[in-house]
């Protein structure tokens, strides 16, 4: 069975031959190649080389590797990673550090109307990237990544994401800063809803159009759109607040992605366990929930296991600081409990930590073979 067929079976909630395994290498790819991350971040050629090295070192995976190259930070897309709108400290060549967002309050609580009147382009930061730099990076990346994409195709791997849709409250949180965002739920709740109404449809269309463009160039790619969410989790707000301020928009976005013929890969950072019950409102066997290590995935299995596929969530701390035997033990527990009956993909939480030990990632892959055969 090809890896992409295995993953599709999991999403459809039918039992494949084994539990798929899908480490997301992202920045960690530089470690595998043995160079400072700043080198990979700033060079499409090195980033592609790092991904190819990962395919060599991490054999037996079911999803394609991505990330590494920094072009997303230079993109003027309405996303938290864009240094056009948000303050980022990005690694220079030779610097062995990962990008760091310096979160701040950009707009005050009285400036929601300004945001909705002027639009995001009004908030282009001083010292923003040059547009020519972004376009040049995009062109270089398209060319340099071809061998890595070809390798993924040869291996029959599933694509984690072709495009992304942010939920409106995350964009508001990034613009208001965490403190402003949280106090606005009490001081100006109607403004949050007004801004969410203003954002939601365009965020959907932007994500869908980008995915359509990628599919046009890669017709055999898995049709996936990542829906990323963090600040509406129970790490920040209550389920009642989620239901009132985030859920209506979240639901609309996921349904739009499904209705357009894509699989939503719902990438949840923060603790969403108290919100998992809401997600039974989505059509059964159409979504993949990738949850990070703040989630009790064993509880998720009880709440949603008969409804949607789950992916996760070996903790970053175990992958970076644990022994390979601890990774093996953790993966065994996940496979035996969450993988029971199918509907599970073994993976890291969020993405692999930059400093994950190579032997630990290999232990995760081997665990899917040792314990995951149905």
């Amino acid at each position: 069975m090809l890896p992409k067929e295995r993953v599709r079976k999991v999403i459809a909630l039918s039992k494949p031959d084994k539990v798929p395994v899908a480490p997301q290498v992202n920045e960690h790819a530089a470690r595998v190649l043995g160079v400072p991350y700043g080198d990979v971040f700033n060079s499409a050629e090195l980033a592609a080389k790092a991904l190819l090295k990962c395919y060599e070192v991490y054999q037996g995976v079911d999803m394609a590797f991505g990330g590494g190259f920094g072009f997303v930070y230079y993109s003027p897309f309405a996303d938290a990673h864009s240094s056009w709108f948000y303050k980022w400290k990005l690694p220079a060549p030779g610097e062995d550090k990962v990008p760091q967002m310096l979160e701040e309050q950009i707009i005050s609580g009285d400036q929601y109307d300004l945001l909705m009147e002027k639009g995001l382009l009004h908030f282009i930061r001083p010292g923003h990237p040059e547009l020519s730099q972004f376009i040049s990076m995009l062109v270089k990346m398209a060319e340099a990544m071809k061998p890595a994409e070809q390798k993924a195709k040869e291996l029959g791997l599933f694509n984690y994401m072709l495009s992304l849709v942010n939920i409106p409250t995350d964009i508001i949180a990034n613009l208001r800063g965490l403190n402003g965002y949280l106090t606005d739920f009490y001081d100006r709740p109607e403004k949050i809803k007004e801004a969410c109404d203003w954002l939601v449809d365009d965020l959907i269309v932007m994500g869908l159009k980008l995915a359509d463009q990628v599919v046009a160039g890669k017709p055999d790619a898995s049709r996936t759109i990542l829906i990323g969410a963090n600040r509406a989790s129970a790490s920040y707000i209550s389920p009642r607040m989620f239901e009132e301020f985030a859920w209506p928009y979240f639901f609309k976005q996921v349904m739009a992605v499904i209705n357009a013929g894509y699989t939503p890969v719902i990438h949840l950072d923060g603790n969403w366990t108290p919100m998992a019950r809401y997600f039974r409102a989505f059509p059964r066997a159409r979504c993949l929930f990738h949850v990070d290590d703040q989630n009790d995935i064993f509880e998720w299995k009880k709440i949603l296991g008969d409804h949607s596929a789950l992916m996760g969530n070996v903790p970053a701390s175990v992958l970076a600081h644990g022994a390979a035997s601890e990774v093996d033990d953790y993966c065994r527990k996940l496979i035996q409990a969450v993988g029971e009956g199918g509907g599970f993909i073994l993976a890291n939480a969020c993405a692999l930590p930059y400093d994950a030990k190579v032997e630990n990632v290999q232990a995760m892959i081997r665990a899917s073979e040792k314990y995951g055969v149905y």
Binding site: A78, K118, G119, H122, F123, I124, P126, L131, W198, D202
Partner: protein, 57 residues
């Protein structure tokens, strides 16, 4: 008249960018004019890539 032009450029910068105060501080008229033109060009190009209301009305 030169001062009038600088004020107009600052007013235009305020119209198109949230950070107009920081951007205009200590800038000459020529520097301001270059900055306004570059910002307008960047906005126009991005708007053509992402022609959505949330990017610009």
């Amino acid at each position: 008249m030169a001062g009038g032009k600088k004020e107009k450029l600052i007013a235009e910068l305020e119209r198109i960018n949230f950070y107009w105060r920081e951007l205009s501080e200590g800038k000459s008229e020529a520097e301001l004019e270059k900055m306004v033109n570059e910002l307008k060009q960047a906005r126009q190009t991005i708007k053509s890539i992402f022609p959505y209301r949330i990017m610009s009305q």
